[in-house]
Symmetry: D2
Subunit: 418 residues, 4 copies
């Protein structure tokens, strides 16, 4: 057993860390203020990319700190999940670092999908500009009218019709779809309700300028629209795209979605851990520099024990996520379902816990825009829901755990154990 990061990981980590601290952090407060201003405006057509961010992207790309998430050594950095994870943590300290390194969701997941399952034509047209950071993309899965954590609830359709696929349905929480550079969405819909339940859905590339695609509005998360990305409600009415836009084939949606989830959750969770570390720093810095009743706040009441609890919680979350990453690398995402669901529960909850305590230490300022705590809280809460709420993931873990007792369970399934 060896908890040291690999030399390659360490070397990237050093460079990413320097970039984040020396070039991103100094401009972040100003960018965050801009972001709040834009992000409270629901009219996404007015959102603009910050030129400072574009400049940072150019620097990062020039220095080879680019597409670090992609396991392909030619197109990306060729890092394993466990080697990329500490870089994601470092990016999580900042609101914009992931984008600066072209490592932000949902583009990362979409790039992985196209890289793994896309046709050559699809790669040329969509993957190449995504890898270049020239365009952005969205992923249209969640629906407003049903509980989307149960995939069998999905109402949207992607029906083959000759050489075309006809796409219909209402989607929402399509992150990134408000971005000025967003050009296409990967849409998931029902193709064949009679097929095996893992072969009913398909994924289709839908350019946003296709007739019938209509972005109805952006949805705020705790009052912020997350400009210039946004989370959109999008209606698809008889949207017709060529069959060549189908990813991998009819009925392959579920399979692709499964493969997409593992690494994505590692990224999200490691970023949460990075955010938690930064938040703990904010907490302690504030608590050490304000005084009440003759002592720094940090020494009052149970605050020191709270800091210990947060330190423990963060370290445990990190180790669990690194372990999940390693297990995915070693045994694949399917064999790592318990771990992938576990970090999905743990990491955002730990982040929420840290930020909640940080708010208390900041006093009312903690709820304002003067500090980034509410924005961090919004991210934590969103992640407690994205890809299924905590309770669904606990359900997955329980199912895996009880699977070890399948014979015993079968005996008692009908009640009295007869």
């Amino acid at each position: 057993m060896d908890f040291s990061p690999s030399p390659r990981c360490q070397e990237y980590l050093k460079r990413v860390r320097a970039f984040v601290r020396e070039r991103i952090e100094p401009v972040e407060t100003a960018l965050l203020a801009q972001r709040h201003a834009q992000s409270r405006n629901p009219d996404w057509t007015q959102w603009r990319c910050a030129p400072e961010v574009e400049a940072l992207k150019a620097q990062a790309r020039a220095e080879g700190l680019w597409n670090l998430f992609l396991p392909d050594a030619g197109l990306g950095a060729g890092l394993s999940n466990v080697d990329y994870a500490p870089l994601a943590e470092e990016m999580g300290r900042s609101f914009i670092a992931a984008e600066v390194f072209n490592c932000n969701a949902p583009d990362t997941g979409n790039m992985e999908v196209l890289w793994k399952y896309g046709s050559e034509e699809q790669k040329a047209r969509w993957l190449t500009p995504l890898l270049a950071g020239e365009i952005r993309s969205a992923f249209c899965m969640t629906e407003p009218d049903v509980a989307s954590s149960d995939a069998t609830n999905m109402q949207a359709t992607a029906i083959a019709d000759g050489d075309d696929i006809i796409v219909n349905g209402r989607k929402w929480w399509s992150t990134g779809i408000g971005h000025p550079n967003c050009r296409f969405a990967i849409f998931m819909g029902l193709s064949d309700p009679q097929a095996h339940r893992h072969q009913q859905h398909s994924m289709v590339i839908v350019p946003l300028d296709t007739p019938g695609v209509s972005i109805r509005r952006m949805l705020p998360v705790m009052g912020e629209y997350d400009a210039p990305y946004g989370h959109g409600e999008v209606w698809f009415d008889d949207v017709r795209v060529p069959r060549s836009n189908l990813i991998k084939g009819i009925g392959k949606g579920f399979e692709i979605a499964q493969g997409r989830l593992g690494p994505g959750r590692i990224h999200h969770c490691m970023r949460s851990i990075g955010a938690a570390e930064r938040t703990l720093e904010l907490l302690i810095t504030r608590g050490a520099s304000r005084v009440a009743f003759g002592k720094p706040l940090i020494n009052l009441g149970g605050n020191r024990e709270r800091i210990a609890e947060l330190r423990i919680a963060i370290d445990q979350a990190r180790l669990l996520t690194l372990y999940a990453a390693w297990k995915i690398d070693k045994a694949g995402a399917l064999a790592s379902m318990t771990e992938i669901s576990a970090i999905k529960v743990v990491a955002p909850n730990v982040l929420e816990q840290v930020v909640s305590e940080a708010i208390q230490i900041h006093g009312a300022a903690g709820l304002s825009d003067d500090v980034p705590l509410v924005a961090i809280l919004g991210g934590a809460r969103a992640l407690r829901l994205a890809d299924g709420p905590d309770a669904v993931h606990r359900g997955v873990i329980a199912r895996m755990e009880l699977g070890k007792y399948a014979k015993l369970m079968a005996q008692h399934r009908n009640g009295r154990g007869e």
Copy 2:
């Protein structure tokens, strides 16, 4: 022991409940949408009162559902704290009910202060129009540069100078100061740092149009500016007001502040409990009408146990708050410090817990403006900080509890118990 509300309370409760459900709730969703739109705009000079709210105020006043909080039987309803408490709970179900009945903070506290401690002139000039709902007011206590939960940190000053008082300092989180009708603030400042620590501060009425008063900005709470009230940062630079604006006298600030707190906390906490009940209804309604994995969400995983925990928590919070109200009525606020601090910890935390679970059941919609959950969460979090964070109140309770062991504590104060 008798847990039935008095006949008078019951009669008012019936009328308030009918008013809230029949006249306020039907318009509330529309008003909330307006509120979000206004509340994301930091430029408070553009904020406007909703004519619908003004109309409802007129109706409430005409029907005698007005100033229900005021113990004075002539000017208000003459209800005790324990009799008013259930009305406050009912108001807490709505975002605007408290205002509709002229029962919203900080005006209620200011009216109480003027009623109890104000001169006849002060009453005529400021209390009368407040009671009529014609003007609004603010309370300027918290300061940006220090931990305000320790009153001895206060830096603002209110210095007697001949027939005038000269007021200086920076205040923030002055709630209501952005309201178009806000006309004055009660300002608390240090008058005499040499006096006994309970006699150093004074409260002064400062009309907002006095030279030297400058509202610098409004502060958002979780992204919302709470228009048309707002929470302002206000600077007072050599603001000169006549000595007749002093409330009760030089050095009386602490005494007035203490008296102000008890009933105000009952109001806040009972409103939180009303909000928690409403939130639980939203949770169950959503959970009972969405289906996943073949069952209503409410029947999945631990959701039913969660509902039970929330029901227990709400009922306990209500009983504790009613008990605190009764004890204030019976024995005064000073004798009820443990209870007043206890509800201050319990009620907003219960509300936060309920709303947090409700968000999880709503999925991502719970974080958007489509439902009022984030707005409720903002209120809960703000209340966990207003008048001191949870930890400070736990400190008060511990002090009271250990006070019972004073002799034992004295023996061991210096370490080894010698």
Copy 3:
């Protein structure tokens, strides 16, 4: 609303308190040491009553502090549940006070059953000596081979056979059956599996000397057998008793059990609260008189905040239990199911929380017999299971809560809300 205890309650409370503090507490440490010694011995036939306890019983009876729990003004004190509750709290401070006042379970429940539902013959033979404290009794409900929290699992039978009832089955956790004076058990068994599910069971008085009754062993709770009471495993093999031993009639078992539960839970919970208060005193006394790192333990780390949390939790538990008691008095146990289940969850959990913190403050001594904390912990844990574990009671509360949404639930029962 009025939280003052009635004058009668206050007067009894004063006398009970004086008795507990002046006469029971001084001898309790010695009695507890005896109890540990006896209680670690599984051979119940060697258990003896302490003469000191018998002497205290005689004093209490002589002073009219006797059968205080019984609502009958002739046979007991004639107190309502809400008036008796504070007395039960006071008794809960001590391990033996309930017995001293002839107010200990399960005899209290059995006396209530006989008083309410017993024939004149049953009263003369069994109730009279119980009321005199001359004999003890047991209640045989729980069974070893099934989950007894679901009454339909019950396997024991009580079958009418001419003028007799034939009783069969295995019971355990029959509290009090090891007592030297225990003379009979109230046995619950299935009489008619075809009847309505609330009319299948009967309760029968079974004298312990009836052929076929066999006490197999006593069961320890956290290592203690709770001598001289004990919790027994009892086998009933073709035990034949006259039909006149049937309580109320065939099929009335469920109805009687329901009526038995409400007041019994008030007693248990109020005693828990009394135990919690005493435990908090032990915690603070220890924490205030031991010093580490230059301060009394109580002032280290988060200890003061913990004390505040415990104070809040205890006060909330008390208020909820008093409210439940008042509601039973006012509206009956059936209308109070939410409250009765709520206190059953809250009170022992609060007690467990207090004792757990007290153990931490005591260091390893807290786990030994030098202090009564482990014994209190055993009581708390037992109560989290007696009459159904926490989760079952949360289930009841959820059922009641969701009952308010019956129409909505019905719509979605079959999944898709059609």
Copy 4:
């Protein structure tokens, strides 16, 4: 980063696992019943070793599964901490496995101390028979009259007097001192109160038959005396031992104690995790085979979510402990203080949480001796106190964390940051 155990670890793990499951588990229920019987008897002079355990020890030794904890490749297995840790987890599944493999506390810690710091003479006389499993030993540190978590409170003395050391004081919670084969104790006492606070204490080997050593009594943990080990209260009155019994030298006690702690905590925590895994199995097995309300208990209410929470908690605790072990191996115990304190808080709390839920699922049986849950709970609670209660360890972690902000803290130490 690589989470795979080393080949050597895996090979040992396979053999230890087979031994535990095939040879220890089959006899454990019977041995546990014996243990309860002995363990409720405070008269330790009657305690006896079980011949079955001695036989198992002989087998283990013969097969080379012996002294696995000792890093010395000649005397023990020569495993690093991170390689030994999974073996300790496996041992933790059983109450006797640690002893069977000669890996149980406090002998392990004493053997390490003698191995690292002992003179050749000390090794020959005491270490050799310990390594052979022929004798047992105790460690006398904790004192009854002071809060022992603060080492400066220590009252016992070990004073040099010519060629002798004179030992005085009262110690308790001296684990293992009741064992029939216990021959000596390592005693810690104050030698020089004027020295630097890390050089005041010494450790001395005290044979139990030295005049002046008096074992006063055994202390129960939750009602069990943990026979044949026991936790003793021991008085040392003018006990005179030759100076050659001094370990390492006068004033070296603190240094030795520090070195002893790291690995010992790894062992304890990994065993806790093994116990937690076994307890979770008991929970699920019971919950899957009992039925209520038409379903296996495990599928009722929130039980599945609870299982998920426990799985997550156990996995996180294991990873954190393995990480701590690795860090001790890599950087030493001093550099790993945060991690060592963190696992000391986490592991026993997780075990307590698992066993607490398991008790609830077992119903009242869970509190009896029919299942080993109470015994496991006792172990968990004892570990929450041994070597300092949770709060003290949180204090250490906070100190380390705030150490990173030393400069900032210094600025504000005196209150106002001036």
